[in-house]
Protein backbone atom coordinates (compact mmCIF):
# COMPACT_ATOMS: atom_id res chain seq x y z
CA UNK A 1 0.00 0.00 0.00
CA UNK A 2 1.35 3.40 -0.87
CA UNK A 3 -0.07 6.89 -0.71
CA UNK A 4 -1.83 7.82 2.50
CA UNK A 5 -4.21 5.89 4.72
CA UNK A 6 -5.31 7.54 7.91
CA UNK A 7 -7.82 6.96 10.64
CA UNK A 8 -7.52 10.07 12.75
CA UNK A 9 -9.17 10.19 16.17
CA UNK A 10 -8.46 13.29 18.21
CA UNK A 11 -10.45 14.45 21.23
CA UNK A 12 -11.04 18.16 21.16
CA UNK A 13 -12.40 20.02 24.15
CA UNK A 14 -15.85 20.33 22.58
CA UNK A 15 -16.04 17.42 20.16
CA UNK A 16 -14.27 14.37 18.86
CA UNK A 17 -12.66 14.23 15.45
CA UNK A 18 -12.96 10.71 14.02
CA UNK A 19 -12.10 10.74 10.34
CA UNK A 20 -11.05 8.03 7.89
CA UNK A 21 -9.28 9.41 4.88
CA UNK A 22 -7.12 7.93 2.16
CA UNK A 23 -5.32 8.99 -0.99
CA UNK A 24 -3.72 6.71 -3.55
CA UNK A 25 -0.09 7.33 -4.45
CA UNK A 26 0.07 10.49 -6.51
CA UNK A 27 -3.61 11.29 -5.99
CA UNK A 28 -4.96 14.62 -4.75
CA UNK A 29 -7.99 14.50 -2.46
CA UNK A 30 -9.86 17.56 -1.23
CA UNK A 31 -11.34 18.02 2.22
CA UNK A 32 -14.19 20.48 2.70
CA UNK A 33 -16.37 21.29 5.65
CA UNK A 34 -17.80 24.15 7.68
CA UNK A 35 -15.53 26.11 10.03
CA UNK A 36 -14.78 24.14 13.16
CA UNK A 37 -15.59 20.80 11.51
CA UNK A 38 -12.16 19.43 12.34
CA UNK A 39 -10.29 20.04 9.07
CA UNK A 40 -7.34 21.81 10.70
CA UNK A 41 -7.17 19.17 13.42
CA UNK A 42 -7.04 16.50 10.72
CA UNK A 43 -4.14 18.22 8.95
CA UNK A 44 -2.28 18.86 12.22
CA UNK A 45 -2.64 15.20 13.11
CA UNK A 46 -1.40 14.06 9.70
CA UNK A 47 1.59 16.43 10.01
CA UNK A 48 2.36 15.12 13.49
CA UNK A 49 1.72 18.41 15.27
CA UNK A 50 -1.19 16.93 17.24
CA UNK A 51 -0.95 13.41 18.59
CA UNK A 52 -3.71 10.92 17.96
CA UNK A 53 -6.08 9.67 20.63
CA UNK A 54 -7.00 6.73 18.42
CA UNK A 55 -6.47 5.25 14.99
CA UNK A 56 -3.35 5.16 12.86
CA UNK A 57 -1.62 6.93 9.99
CA UNK A 58 0.24 5.18 7.20
CA UNK A 59 2.38 7.20 4.80
CA UNK A 60 3.78 5.51 1.69
CA UNK A 61 3.35 2.07 3.22
CA UNK A 62 5.00 2.95 6.53
CA UNK A 63 2.94 3.33 9.69
CA UNK A 64 4.03 6.65 11.18
CA UNK A 65 1.59 6.73 14.06
CA UNK A 66 -0.55 4.11 15.79
CA UNK A 67 -2.23 4.36 19.16
CA UNK A 68 -2.96 0.68 19.81
CA UNK A 69 -0.11 -1.76 20.47
CA UNK A 70 2.43 -1.95 18.99
CA UNK A 71 2.45 1.81 19.42
CA UNK A 72 4.19 3.90 16.80
CA UNK A 73 4.96 7.59 17.04
CA UNK A 74 7.04 9.44 14.46
CA UNK A 75 8.25 13.01 14.94
CA UNK A 76 7.18 15.50 12.25
CA UNK A 77 10.72 15.66 10.79
CA UNK A 78 10.69 11.94 10.00
CA UNK A 79 7.25 11.67 8.41
CA UNK A 80 7.88 13.19 5.02
CA UNK A 81 4.67 15.18 5.36
CA UNK A 82 4.83 18.87 4.45
CA UNK A 83 2.09 21.37 5.21
CA UNK A 84 1.44 24.40 3.03
CA UNK A 85 -0.82 26.91 4.73
CA UNK A 86 -2.32 30.33 4.06
CA UNK A 87 0.77 31.93 5.52
CA UNK A 88 3.78 31.04 3.34
CA UNK A 89 5.94 31.18 6.48
CA UNK A 90 9.20 31.65 4.61
CA UNK A 91 12.25 31.79 6.85
CA UNK A 92 12.70 35.58 7.00
CA UNK A 93 16.47 35.49 7.41
CA UNK A 94 17.07 33.27 4.36
CA UNK A 95 16.89 34.22 0.67
CA UNK A 96 14.30 32.60 -1.58
CA UNK A 97 16.99 30.23 -2.84
CA UNK A 98 18.10 29.23 0.67
CA UNK A 99 14.47 28.74 1.70
CA UNK A 100 13.94 26.29 -1.15
CA UNK A 101 17.30 24.60 -0.50
CA UNK A 102 16.50 24.17 3.20
CA UNK A 103 14.80 20.77 3.00
CA UNK A 104 17.39 19.11 0.72
CA UNK A 105 20.26 20.52 2.79
CA UNK A 106 18.68 19.23 6.00
CA UNK A 107 18.51 15.84 4.28
CA UNK A 108 22.25 15.98 3.56
CA UNK A 109 22.44 17.28 -0.02
CA UNK A 110 25.66 19.32 -0.44
CA UNK A 111 24.92 23.06 -0.25
CA UNK A 112 26.08 23.87 -3.79
CA UNK A 113 23.88 21.21 -5.38
CA UNK A 114 20.91 22.07 -3.17
CA UNK A 115 21.20 25.71 -4.28
CA UNK A 116 21.41 24.77 -7.95
CA UNK A 117 18.33 22.55 -7.54
CA UNK A 118 16.59 25.39 -5.69
CA UNK A 119 17.13 27.69 -8.67
CA UNK A 120 15.52 25.06 -10.90
CA UNK A 121 12.56 24.83 -8.54
CA UNK A 122 12.16 28.60 -8.54
CA UNK A 123 12.18 28.49 -12.33
CA UNK A 124 9.44 25.85 -12.25
CA UNK A 125 7.17 27.93 -9.99
CA UNK A 126 7.66 30.98 -12.20
CA UNK A 127 10.25 32.84 -10.14
CA UNK A 128 13.36 32.27 -12.23
CA UNK A 129 16.14 34.70 -11.33
CA UNK A 130 14.59 35.80 -8.01
CA UNK A 131 16.64 33.38 -5.89
CA UNK A 132 18.64 36.11 -4.18
CA UNK A 133 15.57 38.04 -3.00
CA UNK A 134 14.73 38.03 0.68
CA UNK A 135 11.16 37.06 1.59
CA UNK A 136 10.28 40.65 2.56
CA UNK A 137 11.20 41.76 -0.96
CA UNK A 138 8.63 39.42 -2.51
CA UNK A 139 4.90 39.98 -2.99
CA UNK A 140 2.38 37.73 -1.23
CA UNK A 141 1.87 35.64 -4.36
CA UNK A 142 5.62 35.29 -4.95
CA UNK A 143 6.11 34.25 -1.34
CA UNK A 144 3.47 31.56 -1.74
CA UNK A 145 5.24 30.33 -4.90
CA UNK A 146 8.50 30.08 -2.98
CA UNK A 147 6.69 28.19 -0.20
CA UNK A 148 5.34 25.73 -2.79
CA UNK A 149 8.82 25.24 -4.26
CA UNK A 150 10.26 24.79 -0.78
CA UNK A 151 7.64 22.20 0.16
CA UNK A 152 8.07 20.18 -3.03
CA UNK A 153 11.88 20.37 -3.11
CA UNK A 154 11.93 18.48 0.20
CA UNK A 155 10.57 15.47 -1.79
CA UNK A 156 7.66 14.94 0.57
CA UNK A 157 5.71 11.68 0.52
CA UNK A 158 2.53 13.62 1.27
CA UNK A 159 1.73 17.31 0.81
CA UNK A 160 -0.99 18.90 2.96
CA UNK A 161 -2.59 22.08 1.64
CA UNK A 162 -4.49 24.27 4.09
CA UNK A 163 -6.15 26.86 1.86
CA UNK A 164 -2.85 28.14 0.49
CA UNK A 165 -4.58 30.47 -1.99
CA UNK A 166 -7.15 32.10 0.22
CA UNK A 167 -5.07 35.14 1.17
CA UNK A 168 -4.27 36.01 -2.46
CA UNK A 169 -6.14 38.18 -4.94
CA UNK A 170 -8.19 36.22 -7.53
CA UNK A 171 -5.82 36.77 -10.47
CA UNK A 172 -2.76 35.65 -8.49
CA UNK A 173 -4.67 32.77 -6.91
CA UNK A 174 -5.83 31.53 -10.29
CA UNK A 175 -2.34 31.51 -11.83
CA UNK A 176 -0.88 29.80 -8.75
CA UNK A 177 -3.72 27.25 -8.79
CA UNK A 178 -2.74 26.22 -12.30
CA UNK A 179 0.94 26.01 -11.37
CA UNK A 180 0.12 24.06 -8.23
CA UNK A 181 -1.95 21.52 -10.17
CA UNK A 182 0.94 20.93 -12.58
CA UNK A 183 3.56 20.64 -9.84
CA UNK A 184 1.46 18.39 -7.61
CA UNK A 185 0.87 15.87 -10.38
CA UNK A 186 2.29 12.63 -9.03
CA UNK A 187 2.46 13.81 -5.41
CA UNK A 188 0.02 12.46 -2.86
CA UNK A 189 -1.87 15.50 -1.61
CA UNK A 190 -4.60 16.32 0.89
CA UNK A 191 -6.07 19.75 0.16
CA UNK A 192 -8.35 21.53 2.63
CA UNK A 193 -10.38 24.24 0.94
CA UNK A 194 -13.51 26.33 1.26
CA UNK A 195 -13.72 26.83 -2.48
CA UNK A 196 -15.51 24.24 -4.60
CA UNK A 197 -13.59 25.64 -7.58
CA UNK A 198 -10.29 24.74 -5.89
CA UNK A 199 -11.58 21.25 -5.15
CA UNK A 200 -12.63 20.69 -8.75
CA UNK A 201 -9.39 22.15 -10.11
CA UNK A 202 -6.97 20.29 -7.84
CA UNK A 203 -8.57 17.09 -6.61
CA UNK A 204 -9.97 13.86 -7.93
CA UNK A 205 -11.94 12.90 -4.83
CA UNK A 206 -13.63 14.95 -2.13
CA UNK A 207 -14.18 14.23 1.55
CA UNK A 208 -16.85 16.36 3.23
CA UNK A 209 -16.32 16.66 6.98
CA UNK A 210 -18.82 17.95 9.49
CA UNK A 211 -18.72 17.87 13.29
CA UNK A 212 -15.58 15.75 13.23
CA UNK A 213 -16.80 13.01 10.88
CA UNK A 214 -16.80 12.31 7.15
CA UNK A 215 -20.38 12.89 5.97
CA UNK A 216 -19.93 12.43 2.23
CA UNK A 217 -17.16 11.22 -0.05
CA UNK A 218 -16.65 10.42 -3.69
CA UNK A 219 -15.37 11.90 -6.93
CA UNK A 220 -15.48 15.70 -6.59
CA UNK A 221 -18.06 16.42 -9.28
CA UNK A 222 -20.36 13.60 -8.15
CA UNK A 223 -20.34 14.84 -4.56
CA UNK A 224 -21.07 18.39 -5.67
CA UNK A 225 -23.83 17.24 -8.02
CA UNK A 226 -25.58 15.17 -5.34
CA UNK A 227 -25.14 17.16 -2.14
CA UNK A 228 -26.05 15.01 0.83
CA UNK A 229 -26.12 17.97 3.20
CA UNK A 230 -27.05 21.62 3.24
CA UNK A 231 -23.36 22.45 3.56
CA UNK A 232 -22.38 20.67 0.35
CA UNK A 233 -25.40 22.18 -1.41
CA UNK A 234 -24.26 25.65 -0.41
CA UNK A 235 -20.62 25.18 -1.54
CA UNK A 236 -21.84 23.61 -4.77
CA UNK A 237 -24.24 26.53 -5.19
CA UNK A 238 -27.27 24.24 -5.38
CA UNK A 239 -30.80 24.39 -4.02
CA UNK A 240 -31.56 21.46 -1.78
CA UNK A 241 -35.19 21.15 -0.80
CA UNK A 242 -36.18 18.39 1.63
CA UNK A 243 -39.35 16.42 0.91
CA UNK A 244 -40.60 12.88 0.34
CA UNK A 245 -41.06 10.54 -2.62
CA UNK A 246 -44.61 10.41 -4.00
CA UNK A 247 -46.16 9.39 -7.33
CA UNK A 248 -42.71 8.69 -8.83
CA UNK A 249 -41.48 12.17 -7.99
CA UNK A 250 -40.80 14.47 -5.07
CA UNK A 251 -43.29 16.46 -3.03
CA UNK A 252 -42.96 19.00 -0.28
CA UNK A 253 -45.37 19.55 2.60
CA UNK A 254 -47.54 21.80 0.39
CA UNK A 255 -48.11 19.00 -2.10
CA UNK A 256 -46.17 20.45 -5.03
CA UNK A 257 -44.80 17.69 -7.28
CA UNK A 258 -41.43 17.68 -9.02
CA UNK A 259 -40.40 14.95 -11.41
CA UNK A 260 -36.95 14.22 -12.77
CA UNK A 261 -35.72 12.69 -16.00
CA UNK A 262 -32.57 11.46 -14.25
CA UNK A 263 -32.65 7.64 -14.05
CA UNK A 264 -30.98 7.33 -10.67
CA UNK A 265 -33.27 9.99 -9.23
CA UNK A 266 -36.42 8.30 -10.51
CA UNK A 267 -35.22 5.00 -9.04
CA UNK A 268 -34.92 6.64 -5.64
CA UNK A 269 -38.46 7.98 -5.86
CA UNK A 270 -40.19 4.67 -6.56
CA UNK A 271 -41.15 3.97 -2.94
CA UNK A 272 -43.65 6.55 -1.68
CA UNK A 273 -42.68 8.18 1.58
CA UNK A 274 -38.88 7.87 1.17
CA UNK A 275 -37.21 11.01 2.47
CA UNK A 276 -35.71 12.82 -0.53
CA UNK A 277 -34.18 16.19 -1.31
CA UNK A 278 -34.67 17.83 -4.68
CA UNK A 279 -31.46 19.49 -5.87
CA UNK A 280 -31.00 21.94 -8.73
CA UNK A 281 -29.04 25.08 -9.55
CA UNK A 282 -30.61 28.46 -8.89
CA UNK A 283 -29.68 29.32 -12.49
CA UNK A 284 -31.80 26.40 -13.76
CA UNK A 285 -34.96 27.59 -12.00
CA UNK A 286 -37.32 30.20 -13.46
CA UNK A 287 -40.10 32.39 -12.18
CA UNK A 288 -43.32 31.53 -14.02
CA UNK A 289 -46.77 33.10 -14.20
CA UNK A 290 -48.71 30.35 -12.47
CA UNK A 291 -49.19 26.71 -11.67
CA UNK A 292 -47.99 24.06 -14.16
CA UNK A 293 -45.81 20.99 -14.40
CA UNK A 294 -42.79 21.01 -12.07
CA UNK A 295 -43.81 24.27 -10.44
CA UNK A 296 -44.21 25.24 -6.84
CA UNK A 297 -45.29 28.22 -4.86
CA UNK A 298 -42.88 30.13 -2.60
CA UNK A 299 -42.62 33.37 -0.66
CA UNK A 300 -39.85 35.84 -1.51
CA UNK A 301 -37.53 36.29 1.48
CA UNK A 302 -34.99 38.69 -0.03
CA UNK A 303 -33.57 39.78 -3.37
CA UNK A 304 -29.80 39.89 -3.73
CA UNK A 305 -27.86 41.54 -6.59
CA UNK A 306 -25.40 39.13 -8.25
CA UNK A 307 -22.76 39.55 -10.95
CA UNK A 308 -25.15 38.57 -13.71
CA UNK A 309 -28.43 39.93 -12.35
CA UNK A 310 -30.29 39.07 -9.18
CA UNK A 311 -30.92 36.05 -7.03
CA UNK A 312 -34.29 35.72 -5.35
CA UNK A 313 -34.11 33.79 -2.11
CA UNK A 314 -37.49 32.25 -1.34
CA UNK A 315 -39.00 30.08 1.33
CA UNK A 316 -38.44 27.14 -1.07
CA UNK A 317 -35.16 27.55 -2.88
CA UNK A 318 -33.33 30.36 -4.66
CA UNK A 319 -33.70 31.36 -8.28
CA UNK A 320 -31.48 33.47 -10.52
CA UNK A 321 -33.21 36.09 -12.63
CA UNK A 322 -31.98 38.85 -14.92
CA UNK A 323 -31.46 42.35 -13.64
CA UNK A 324 -35.12 42.80 -12.72
CA UNK A 325 -34.85 42.76 -8.97
CA UNK A 326 -37.28 45.66 -8.58
CA UNK A 327 -40.04 43.39 -9.86
CA UNK A 328 -40.05 41.46 -6.58
CA UNK A 329 -39.91 42.41 -2.96
CA UNK A 330 -39.90 40.34 0.18
CA UNK A 331 -43.27 38.87 1.09
CA UNK A 332 -44.37 38.44 -2.55
CA UNK A 333 -45.71 35.06 -3.59
CA UNK A 334 -44.09 33.62 -6.71
CA UNK A 335 -44.41 30.44 -8.77
CA UNK A 336 -41.11 28.76 -9.56
CA UNK A 337 -40.37 26.18 -12.22
CA UNK A 338 -37.45 23.84 -12.90
CA UNK A 339 -37.21 21.62 -15.96
CA UNK A 340 -37.30 17.89 -15.22
CA UNK A 341 -33.94 17.44 -16.93
CA UNK A 342 -32.40 19.90 -14.48
CA UNK A 343 -33.55 18.46 -11.18
CA UNK A 344 -32.11 15.46 -9.32
CA UNK A 345 -33.16 13.68 -6.16
CA UNK A 346 -30.79 12.64 -3.41
CA UNK A 347 -31.63 10.55 -0.36
CA UNK A 348 -31.99 12.38 2.94
CA UNK A 349 -30.12 10.87 5.85
Amino acid sequence: MSGLQAHVVVDRSRFRVDVMIDAAAGETVAVMGPSGAGKSTLLSALAGLVSLDGGEITVAGRTVERVTAPRVSTAPMHRGVVLLGQDPRLFPHLSARENVAFGPRAAGTPAARARADADEWLERVGLGGLGARMPRELSGGEQQRVAIARALSASPRVVLLDEPLVALDPVTASSIRGMLRDQLAGTTTVAVTHDAGDAVALAERLFVIDAGAVVQTGPVREVLRAPASAFVASIADMNRMPGVAARGGWTDSDGHLLTSSDVASTALATADGTALAAVFRPSDARVVAGEGANTWKATVLRVEPTLSGSRIHTSAGAVDVGDTRDAWSSGDTVWLHVDLSRVRFVPLP
Partner: protein, 262 residues
Protein backbone atom coordinates in the same frame (compact mmCIF):
# COMPACT_ATOMS: atom_id res chain seq x y z
CA UNK B 1 6.12 62.78 6.31
CA UNK B 2 5.69 64.12 9.81
CA UNK B 3 2.37 65.87 10.16
CA UNK B 4 1.20 67.48 13.36
CA UNK B 5 -0.94 64.47 14.27
CA UNK B 6 2.04 62.11 14.00
CA UNK B 7 3.43 63.53 17.22
CA UNK B 8 0.28 62.90 19.21
CA UNK B 9 -1.21 65.33 21.71
CA UNK B 10 1.01 65.34 24.79
CA UNK B 11 0.58 68.58 26.81
CA UNK B 12 3.35 71.05 25.88
CA UNK B 13 3.91 71.95 29.54
CA UNK B 14 5.39 68.49 30.09
CA UNK B 15 8.46 69.68 28.19
CA UNK B 16 9.68 71.38 31.38
CA UNK B 17 9.98 68.31 33.67
CA UNK B 18 11.18 66.35 30.65
CA UNK B 19 14.10 68.72 30.09
CA UNK B 20 14.81 68.71 33.83
CA UNK B 21 15.08 64.92 33.73
CA UNK B 22 17.35 65.04 30.71
CA UNK B 23 19.65 67.59 32.38
CA UNK B 24 19.78 65.52 35.54
CA UNK B 25 21.06 62.59 33.51
CA UNK B 26 23.47 64.46 31.27
CA UNK B 27 24.95 67.21 33.51
CA UNK B 28 26.83 64.92 35.94
CA UNK B 29 28.52 63.26 32.97
CA UNK B 30 29.45 66.65 31.57
CA UNK B 31 30.88 67.56 34.98
CA UNK B 32 32.93 64.36 34.91
CA UNK B 33 34.29 65.07 31.45
CA UNK B 34 35.11 68.61 32.54
CA UNK B 35 37.35 67.24 35.30
CA UNK B 36 39.46 65.16 32.88
CA UNK B 37 42.97 66.51 32.67
CA UNK B 38 43.58 66.05 28.98
CA UNK B 39 47.27 66.95 29.24
CA UNK B 40 47.97 63.88 31.35
CA UNK B 41 45.15 61.71 30.02
CA UNK B 42 47.33 59.33 28.00
CA UNK B 43 49.90 59.07 30.78
CA UNK B 44 47.10 58.45 33.31
CA UNK B 45 45.47 55.58 31.46
CA UNK B 46 48.82 54.02 30.55
CA UNK B 47 50.24 54.04 34.05
CA UNK B 48 51.02 50.47 35.17
CA UNK B 49 48.31 50.49 37.83
CA UNK B 50 45.70 51.78 35.37
CA UNK B 51 46.76 49.34 32.67
CA UNK B 52 46.53 46.48 35.16
CA UNK B 53 42.97 47.48 36.08
CA UNK B 54 42.07 48.02 32.43
CA UNK B 55 43.47 44.66 31.31
CA UNK B 56 41.85 42.84 34.21
CA UNK B 57 38.48 44.47 33.55
CA UNK B 58 38.44 43.58 29.87
CA UNK B 59 39.85 40.09 30.40
CA UNK B 60 37.39 39.17 33.12
CA UNK B 61 34.55 40.97 31.31
CA UNK B 62 35.12 38.96 28.15
CA UNK B 63 35.45 35.71 30.10
CA UNK B 64 32.26 36.42 32.05
CA UNK B 65 30.41 37.32 28.83
CA UNK B 66 31.57 34.09 27.18
CA UNK B 67 30.33 32.05 30.14
CA UNK B 68 27.03 33.96 30.07
CA UNK B 69 26.54 33.13 26.37
CA UNK B 70 27.38 29.45 26.82
CA UNK B 71 25.00 28.90 29.74
CA UNK B 72 22.60 31.82 29.23
CA UNK B 73 21.42 31.06 25.69
CA UNK B 74 20.37 27.47 26.57
CA UNK B 75 18.67 28.78 29.72
CA UNK B 76 16.83 31.39 27.63
CA UNK B 77 15.71 28.69 25.16
CA UNK B 78 14.49 26.53 28.06
CA UNK B 79 12.43 29.37 29.53
CA UNK B 80 11.07 30.47 26.15
CA UNK B 81 9.84 26.94 25.35
CA UNK B 82 8.36 26.15 28.79
CA UNK B 83 4.68 26.37 29.59
CA UNK B 84 3.49 29.79 30.81
CA UNK B 85 3.50 28.89 34.52
CA UNK B 86 6.95 27.31 34.62
CA UNK B 87 8.30 30.11 32.43
CA UNK B 88 7.01 32.72 34.90
CA UNK B 89 8.72 30.95 37.79
CA UNK B 90 12.00 30.56 35.89
CA UNK B 91 11.91 34.15 34.70
CA UNK B 92 11.39 35.38 38.27
CA UNK B 93 14.34 33.26 39.42
CA UNK B 94 16.53 34.76 36.70
CA UNK B 95 15.38 38.29 37.54
CA UNK B 96 16.31 38.10 41.24
CA UNK B 97 20.05 38.78 40.73
CA UNK B 98 19.01 41.71 38.54
CA UNK B 99 17.05 43.47 41.26
CA UNK B 100 19.23 42.32 44.14
CA UNK B 101 21.79 44.87 45.40
CA UNK B 102 25.11 43.56 44.00
CA UNK B 103 26.57 43.64 47.51
CA UNK B 104 24.02 41.04 48.58
CA UNK B 105 24.99 38.98 45.57
CA UNK B 106 28.62 39.20 46.66
CA UNK B 107 27.77 37.99 50.16
CA UNK B 108 25.70 35.14 48.70
CA UNK B 109 28.58 34.10 46.43
CA UNK B 110 30.91 34.25 49.43
CA UNK B 111 28.69 31.86 51.38
CA UNK B 112 28.70 29.41 48.46
CA UNK B 113 32.33 29.69 47.23
CA UNK B 114 34.04 31.28 50.26
CA UNK B 115 36.45 29.25 52.41
CA UNK B 116 33.68 28.25 54.81
CA UNK B 117 31.08 27.87 52.05
CA UNK B 118 29.61 24.74 50.50
CA UNK B 119 32.05 24.88 47.59
CA UNK B 120 34.87 26.45 49.61
CA UNK B 121 37.19 23.61 48.65
CA UNK B 122 37.55 25.11 45.20
CA UNK B 123 39.48 28.01 46.77
CA UNK B 124 37.95 30.55 44.42
CA UNK B 125 37.23 33.52 46.67
CA UNK B 126 39.56 36.55 46.35
CA UNK B 127 41.07 35.27 43.08
CA UNK B 128 40.71 36.45 39.48
CA UNK B 129 38.20 33.63 38.73
CA UNK B 130 36.11 35.05 41.57
CA UNK B 131 35.90 38.33 39.65
CA UNK B 132 34.61 36.41 36.63
CA UNK B 133 32.06 34.56 38.79
CA UNK B 134 30.82 37.80 40.36
CA UNK B 135 30.48 39.43 36.94
CA UNK B 136 28.72 36.38 35.51
CA UNK B 137 26.28 36.37 38.42
CA UNK B 138 25.18 39.96 37.91
CA UNK B 139 25.36 40.00 34.09
CA UNK B 140 23.68 36.68 33.24
CA UNK B 141 20.09 37.94 33.77
CA UNK B 142 20.57 40.65 31.13
CA UNK B 143 21.55 38.09 28.53
CA UNK B 144 18.91 35.52 29.48
CA UNK B 145 16.02 38.00 29.49
CA UNK B 146 17.06 39.59 26.17
CA UNK B 147 17.48 36.25 24.40
CA UNK B 148 14.36 34.75 25.97
CA UNK B 149 12.27 37.67 24.75
CA UNK B 150 13.63 37.32 21.22
CA UNK B 151 13.11 33.53 21.09
CA UNK B 152 9.62 33.72 22.56
CA UNK B 153 8.45 36.47 20.23
CA UNK B 154 9.63 34.48 17.20
CA UNK B 155 7.39 31.61 18.25
CA UNK B 156 7.60 27.99 17.14
CA UNK B 157 5.95 28.28 13.72
CA UNK B 158 9.22 28.55 11.81
CA UNK B 159 10.64 25.64 13.79
CA UNK B 160 7.58 23.55 12.92
CA UNK B 161 7.95 24.45 9.27
CA UNK B 162 11.61 23.45 9.39
CA UNK B 163 10.73 20.14 11.08
CA UNK B 164 8.13 19.38 8.41
CA UNK B 165 10.85 19.92 5.81
CA UNK B 166 12.83 17.17 7.51
CA UNK B 167 15.30 19.15 9.63
CA UNK B 168 16.47 17.60 12.91
CA UNK B 169 16.58 19.45 16.23
CA UNK B 170 20.21 20.59 15.97
CA UNK B 171 19.73 21.75 12.38
CA UNK B 172 16.65 23.71 13.42
CA UNK B 173 18.58 25.31 16.30
CA UNK B 174 21.56 26.21 14.10
CA UNK B 175 19.75 27.38 10.99
CA UNK B 176 16.41 28.72 12.29
CA UNK B 177 16.12 29.38 16.02
CA UNK B 178 19.50 31.03 16.69
CA UNK B 179 19.62 33.16 13.50
CA UNK B 180 16.10 34.42 14.16
CA UNK B 181 17.07 35.27 17.75
CA UNK B 182 20.34 36.89 16.61
CA UNK B 183 19.27 40.49 17.34
CA UNK B 184 18.31 39.47 20.89
CA UNK B 185 21.51 37.49 21.35
CA UNK B 186 23.69 40.38 20.18
CA UNK B 187 21.82 42.92 22.30
CA UNK B 188 21.95 40.60 25.30
CA UNK B 189 25.66 39.89 24.85
CA UNK B 190 26.55 43.56 24.57
CA UNK B 191 24.47 44.53 27.62
CA UNK B 192 25.95 41.59 29.48
CA UNK B 193 29.50 42.75 28.70
CA UNK B 194 28.68 46.33 29.75
CA UNK B 195 27.23 45.13 33.02
CA UNK B 196 30.23 42.86 33.62
CA UNK B 197 32.91 45.52 33.20
CA UNK B 198 30.93 47.95 35.37
CA UNK B 199 30.47 45.39 38.17
CA UNK B 200 31.54 46.67 41.58
CA UNK B 201 29.61 45.50 44.64
CA UNK B 202 29.67 41.74 44.23
CA UNK B 203 33.30 41.84 43.11
CA UNK B 204 34.38 43.94 46.09
CA UNK B 205 32.83 41.54 48.59
CA UNK B 206 33.52 38.22 46.91
CA UNK B 207 36.81 38.88 45.06
CA UNK B 208 38.30 41.69 47.11
CA UNK B 209 40.41 44.58 45.90
CA UNK B 210 43.91 43.25 45.17
CA UNK B 211 45.68 45.36 42.51
CA UNK B 212 46.51 43.27 39.46
CA UNK B 213 44.51 40.28 40.71
CA UNK B 214 40.98 41.39 41.47
CA UNK B 215 41.10 45.18 41.24
CA UNK B 216 39.03 45.97 38.15
CA UNK B 217 38.41 49.50 36.83
CA UNK B 218 35.42 50.30 39.09
CA UNK B 219 37.36 49.12 42.14
CA UNK B 220 40.44 51.10 41.11
CA UNK B 221 38.30 54.21 40.71
CA UNK B 222 36.71 53.72 44.13
CA UNK B 223 40.07 53.07 45.75
CA UNK B 224 41.61 56.19 44.21
CA UNK B 225 38.87 58.37 45.64
CA UNK B 226 39.59 56.85 49.05
CA UNK B 227 43.15 58.11 48.71
CA UNK B 228 45.01 54.93 47.78
CA UNK B 229 46.15 53.07 44.64
CA UNK B 230 46.00 55.00 41.37
CA UNK B 231 45.87 58.81 41.37
CA UNK B 232 42.56 60.64 41.17
CA UNK B 233 43.54 61.84 37.71
CA UNK B 234 43.86 58.23 36.64
CA UNK B 235 40.54 57.44 38.31
CA UNK B 236 38.80 60.16 36.35
CA UNK B 237 40.44 58.97 33.14
CA UNK B 238 39.30 55.39 33.85
CA UNK B 239 35.81 56.64 34.59
CA UNK B 240 35.81 58.37 31.24
CA UNK B 241 36.85 55.12 29.57
CA UNK B 242 33.94 53.31 31.25
CA UNK B 243 31.60 56.06 30.09
CA UNK B 244 32.92 55.80 26.55
CA UNK B 245 32.55 52.02 26.65
CA UNK B 246 28.93 52.41 27.78
CA UNK B 247 28.16 54.82 24.92
CA UNK B 248 29.76 52.49 22.36
CA UNK B 249 27.78 49.56 23.76
CA UNK B 250 24.53 51.51 23.45
CA UNK B 251 25.28 52.37 19.84
CA UNK B 252 26.09 48.75 19.09
CA UNK B 253 22.80 47.58 20.57
CA UNK B 254 20.87 50.18 18.58
CA UNK B 255 22.74 49.29 15.43
CA UNK B 256 21.90 45.63 15.75
CA UNK B 257 18.21 46.03 16.40
CA UNK B 258 16.69 45.66 12.95
CA UNK B 259 14.41 48.48 11.94
CA UNK B 260 15.35 50.65 14.93
CA UNK B 261 15.95 54.38 14.59
CA UNK B 262 19.67 54.82 14.70
Amino acid sequence: MSGVADRGYVPRALAFPALLGLCFLILPLVALIARVEWATFVADVTSPAALAALGLSFGTGIAATAICVVIGVPLALLIARSGPRLAAVLRAAVTVPLVLPPMVGGIALLYLFGRAGWLGGLGLSFTTPAVVLAQTFVALPFLVLAVEGAVRSTGVDFERTAAALGAGRWTILRRITLPLAAPGIVAGTVLCFARAIGEFGATALFAGNRPGVTQTMPLAIYTAFNGAGVTQGTAVALALLLLAAAVIVLMLVRGWRPGAVR
